[in-house]
Amino acid sequence: MRPRPSTLAVWGVGLVLAYGLMSARTAPSPDRLWGDLPVLSGGRVKPLDSVARHSLLVLSGKQSVRMNGRPVGATAWLKEMVFQPDVADTYPVFEIDDPDVLGSIGMASGRQRRYRFLDLQPHLSELQTQSERAGAVRPQLRSRFQKALLRLWEQVLLYWRIQNTLRLTGPDSELPGVTGSVHEIEAYQTALNERGESTAARPVADMSSVLSAFQARYQTLADRAEFRVLPAGAPDRWASLGQGLLDGSDGSPLHPAIGFYARMGDACRSGDTAAFRQALFDYRDWLGEHVPGASAQGRREGLFNRYQAFYKSLVLYVIVCGLVFLSFLRWPAELRRTAYGILVLAFIVHTGGLVARMILQGRPPVTNLYSSAIFVGWGSVLLGVVVERMFKNGWGSLGSAAIGFLTQIIALHLAAQGDTMEMMRAVLDSNFWLATHVVTVTAGYSATFLSGVLGVVFILRGVFSKGLEEEAAQNLTRMVYGIVCFSAFFSFIGTVLGGIWADQSWGRFWGWDPKENGALMIVLWNALILHMGWDKQVGRRGLMNLAVFGNIITALSWFGVNMLGIGLHSYGFMDKASLWLIVFCLSQAAIIGLGALPARFWGSPGTVS
C-alpha cells in the first residue's frame, strides 16, 4: 500500500523539527559554551545567552545585530560588550524611532533606525538633563516625547551597566602600570598579602593607599554591575565581580571564577582564540564540579533559547492556514489532512516550549502578559485540534492556527520588553492561584477567541463565497455554541477564583478594578450569547455576530485595561500596542458590519436564514 501524500508531508515536517532539536543540543562551539555560562540577573540564575538576548531586545528590538551586512549573534555581541566595549560601541544597537527624541540630540530621522553608542556619546549630558526633566513628570501625564526619551535614557544606562559588569570602561579601564585583568588581580592579591608588612622598598602607608585605590575601584565596579557572575549555592549569595574582589579584602581567598573571567577577558582583548577557548573550557569544568545546579540551569535555558520553539510553531501555524486556504481550491481532503497533521506538530512544538518554560521557571504556565499570549494561543489550538477531530472540515484547523499565529506575533512583540521569566512580585507569588485562577481565566480567553474567529470564518466565507454549504453552516453554529459554553465556564470559574484570591490578599472579593471588570465583561458577554441562543432571541447569523464581538471584548479586557495604566492589576503596561488594539477592534467591527448585511448581499444567502 502506498502511503498518502499527506502522511509523507507530515512525517517530513516532523523529521525537520526533530533534527533542529538534535542540532541545538550537540556540537558545543566556544560561542555556545560562553552563552551557556550561568549568571544571576533580575533575581534569577540564567545563562549569559538570555542576558544577551533580553538586553539586545530591549536596546534594539531584535535578538541579533547587523554589522557590515552580516548578523552578529546576541552572545557574541555580549562578549564584545563586556570584554571589548570599544568594539561594541561601533555596533548599531540603539533603536530610536521617535523623531522628537532624535531632534533633541540633533539628528534627523532618516532611513537609519538603529544608532551606535558612538553616535549618542556626544549628547549624553543633554540626554541626562532631558531625562531628569521628564522623570519629574507623573508617569500618566508624560508626553510621547518624554516617554520615548526616558526609554532611551534607560537603554543607555542598561548599555553602560552591562559594559561595566566585568571591568570599568573609559579611562579607568586599566590601572597605571598594570596590563590586563590577570595581571591586575595578581597585583591586587600582592597588595592584599603584603598589607601591614613594610618592606624596604615600600612603607606601610604606601601599601594601604595602593589597597584603598583597588578597593575604591572595585566598589565602583560592584555598584555599576548589571548582573552577578560569581556563582554560589543560593541565589542571594551570588556576587558581582566587583563585590567578589572586595570580599577578598578580609583575607579570604578570591572566588575562583574571577580568575577564569580575567583569563577570558585578556584572551579576548589580545585576539587569542585558543586561550579564550581554554579558559572557557576550564571554567565550564569548574562549574560542572562546584555548582552543577546553576551550570545545568544555564545549559537548559540556553537550549531553550536556541531552539526557538515558539517561533517554529508560528511558522507552522502560517503553513496550516495556507494549506486550509489551498484546500478550498484544490485537493480538499488531502490538504485538510496535511493541515491537521501539521497543526498537531505545531501544537506539540508549542507545548514543548510551554512545558520547558514551566520547568525553567518552576511556575504554572501563565505568569505575565507574555506568557498569557503563549497560553491563549496554546489553549485555542488545543480546542481547535479537538474540534477538527470531531468535524474534520478544516474550520477548526484554520481558526485555531490563525489564533496561534496572532498570539505568537503578540508574544514576540511583548518579549521585546526584556526577560519574560522575571521574578514574581510578592502579591503574585502564589503558584496555587497562578495555576488555578490565571490559567482558567486565560483558557476562557482562548475559547472566546476561538468562537469569535469561527464566527469571522463563517461571515467571510458566507458573504464572499458561494461555498458555505448548509451542512458546514450548521456545523459551524454547533461548534461556536459549544465553544461559547466552554468559554463561559472557564471565564466564570476563573473570575470567581480571582475574586477569592483578591479576598485573600487585598481584603475584598471584588473591587471593580479594571482587570476584574475586563474579566467580568467576558463572563457577561458569554452568558448573554448562551441565553440569547438558548431562548432563540438570535438566529445563526446573530450568534456569529455576537461571537465576533466577543473578540473585541476579550482583546480589550486582555490588553485594553493594561493601557489604562490604573488599578492593582496593571503590571503589564505598554504603549505601542494601543494602535494595534484599535486596528483589531475596528476590523472585528467591520466584520460584524458584513455579518449584518441583508441576505441578498451574501454569496451563500441560504445559510443566513
Partner: protein
C-alpha cells in the same frame, strides 16, 4: 385588535411576573451591566478607582453633573441593575420551577450566582475598610478610615483616660447646630470642604487658633488612589453665655488645637474616622525581602503579638501576602509599609458577608459538576 384586547384582560401583576421572569429581561440586564462596567472602568482614569466605584457601582442612579450644579439621572447604577438582576434570577426560576434532576445542576448554579450578586451588593453597602499603621516595637488598638473624617472633641481633664467625642462629617456638612449633653458648648458648622488647600494669609474666616492665620480654598477631590483629601471645616463654638470663637479644623493640621472652657482644656481636631478595638496588636518585626540584585519585592510579612483581655488571647500572629489574619469579624491584610521598612500598614476589613462568595463558589461548582456529569452519562447511554 385581538392581541390588544387580550393584553388588557391580563391582570397587571401577571404581566409584571412574566416581564420580570423573562429571558429578554436577562439579556437586557446583562447588556446594562456591561455598559455600566465599561463606563465605570473608563471613568477610573479620571476619577480614580474609589470615586468611580462609588459613582457607578455603589449607587442607585448615575447622575450627569450639569454646569449649573444640577444633576440629571442618566443611567441606572450598580444597585439598580444588580437588584433587577436578582429579581429576574429569582422570578425566572420560580416561574419555570419544575422538579427535574436534569435541571438541578443549573438551578444550583444560578442559586450560587444569586448569592454572589447579593453578597457583592451587601458588601458594598455594609463593608468597612480602614488601615492600621504600626511601627516596629509599638502597639495599636485602632484603625483609621482615610476616606471619611470626623470631628473629635477630646476631654482631657480626667487623669485616668481621655474622653473622646466624635462628630461624623455628615453632620458638619448639614450645617445644623450640634449639641450633646456632655459638651460644654454647641457646635455650629459654618463651612465644610471635602478637599481643600490651606494657605497662610489674611482674610481667614476663623477667629481663633491657628486657623485665624489661614485661608481655606476649595479644591477638587483627589483622584489618585494613594492620595487623600484634605478635608476642612469652619465651626463656631457657642457656650450658654458666650461664643468661644470661630475655629478652622482640617486634616491638613497635624496637631489638635486646644480650646479652654471655664479653665478646662478641650482638644479639637478633624481627623480620619477611627475604629477602636477591644484588643491590641503589637508589631514585633516587619520583614520585606527582595529578589537578589533587584528591587522586586519577594515577600512582606508582619510578626505581631495579639493581646485581647476579653478573650484572654495573648499570642503571636504572622500576616503576610495572601495570608491575612481573621479575628473577631475583622480581617487584617498586609497592605503597605514605610519608614525604611520599620512601619507596617495593615488593611482592616469588616465585612459581615465575606463568606458569601465562597459559598457561591461551592454552589456554582457543584451545580456545574452535576450538569456536566449528567450530560456525560446521557451521552454515554446514547453512545451505548
Amino acid at each position: 385588535m385581538s392581541s390588544r384586547s387580550r393584553s388588557v384582560s391580563v391582570p397587571f401583576y401577571h404581566r409584571a411576573w412574566t416581564f420580570f421572569g423573562s429571558l429578554e429581561l436577562t439579556s437586557v440586564v446583562l447588556v446594562l451591566m456591561m455598559v455600566l462596567v465599561l463606563f465605570g472602568t473608563l471613568e477610573q482614569v479620571h476619577l480614580g478607582t474609589w470615586l468611580a466605584q462609588k459613582k457607578y457601582f455603589s449607587s442607585w442612579l448615575i447622575f450627569y453633573e450639569l454646569e449649573n450644579g444640577g444633576r440629571l439621572p442618566v443611567f441606572p447604577g450598580g444597585y439598580t441593575v444588580g437588584g433587577l438582576w436578582l429579581i429576574n434570577l429569582a422570578v425566572s426560576h420560580v416561574a419555570r420551577a419544575r422538579w427535574e434532576w436534569r435541571r438541578f445542576g443549573l438551578l444550583l448554579t444560578h442559586g450560587g450566582l444569586f448569592l454572589l450578586v447579593l453578597g457583592q451588593g451587601l458588601t458594598q453597602m455594609w463593608a468597612q475598610e480602614s488601615q492600621m499603621a504600626i511601627e516596629e516595637g509599638h502597639s495599636a488598638r485602632y484603625s483609621e478610615d482615610y476616606r471619611h473624617v470626623e470631628l473629635v472633641v477630646i476631654d482631657t481633664h480626667l487623669s485616668t483616660e481621655d474622653v473622646v467625642h466624635a462628630v461624623p462629617a455628615a453632620l458638619l456638612k448639614k450645617g445644623r447646630p450640634i449639641q450633646h449633653a456632655s459638651f460644654p458648648f454647641k457646635i455650629i458648622p459654618k463651612q465644610f470642604f471635602q478637599n481643600s488647600v490651606l494657605k497662610s494669609g489674611s482674610g481667614a474666616t476663623a477667629t481663633m487658633g491657628v486657623g485665624a492665620r489661614l485661608n481655606v480654598l476649595e479644591s477638587p477631590r483627589v483622584t489618585s488612589d494613594d492620595e487623600m483629601d484634605t478635608s476642612s471645616a469652619v465651626i463656631e463654638l457657642v457656650g450658654p453665655e458666650k461664643s468661644y470663637g470661630v475655629w478652622l479644623v482640617s486634616t491638613g493640621l497635624e496637631t489638635p488645637q486646644t480650646v479652654v472652657i471655664d479653665g478646662t482644656p478641650y482638644l479639637l481636631q478633624l481627623r480620619p474616622v477611627r475604629h477602636y478595638y477591644p484588643f491590641s496588636l503589637h508589631l514585633k518585626r516587619f520583614t520585606h525581602d527582595r529578589y537578589p540584585g533587584t528591587d522586586i519585592p519577594k515577600n512582606f510579612s508582619s510578626l505581631l503579638r495579639l493581646v485581647d483581655p476579653e478573650t484572654g488571647d495573648d499570642r503571636d500572629v504572622l500576616i503576610f501576602m495572601n495570608n491575612p489574619l481573621r479575628y473577631r469579624g475583622l480581617t487584617f491584610y498586609q497592605a503597605s509599609f514605610g519608614k525604611g521598612d520599620k512601619l507596617s500598614i495593615l488593611q482592616v476589613v469588616k465585612n459581615p458577608v465575606w463568606v458569601a462568595p465562597y459559598l457561591a463558589c461551592v454552589l456554582v461548582s457543584l451545580g456545574l459538576a452535576w450538569h456536566f456529569v449528567l450530560h456525560l452519562a446521557r451521552f454515554r447511554r446514547r453512545a451505548a
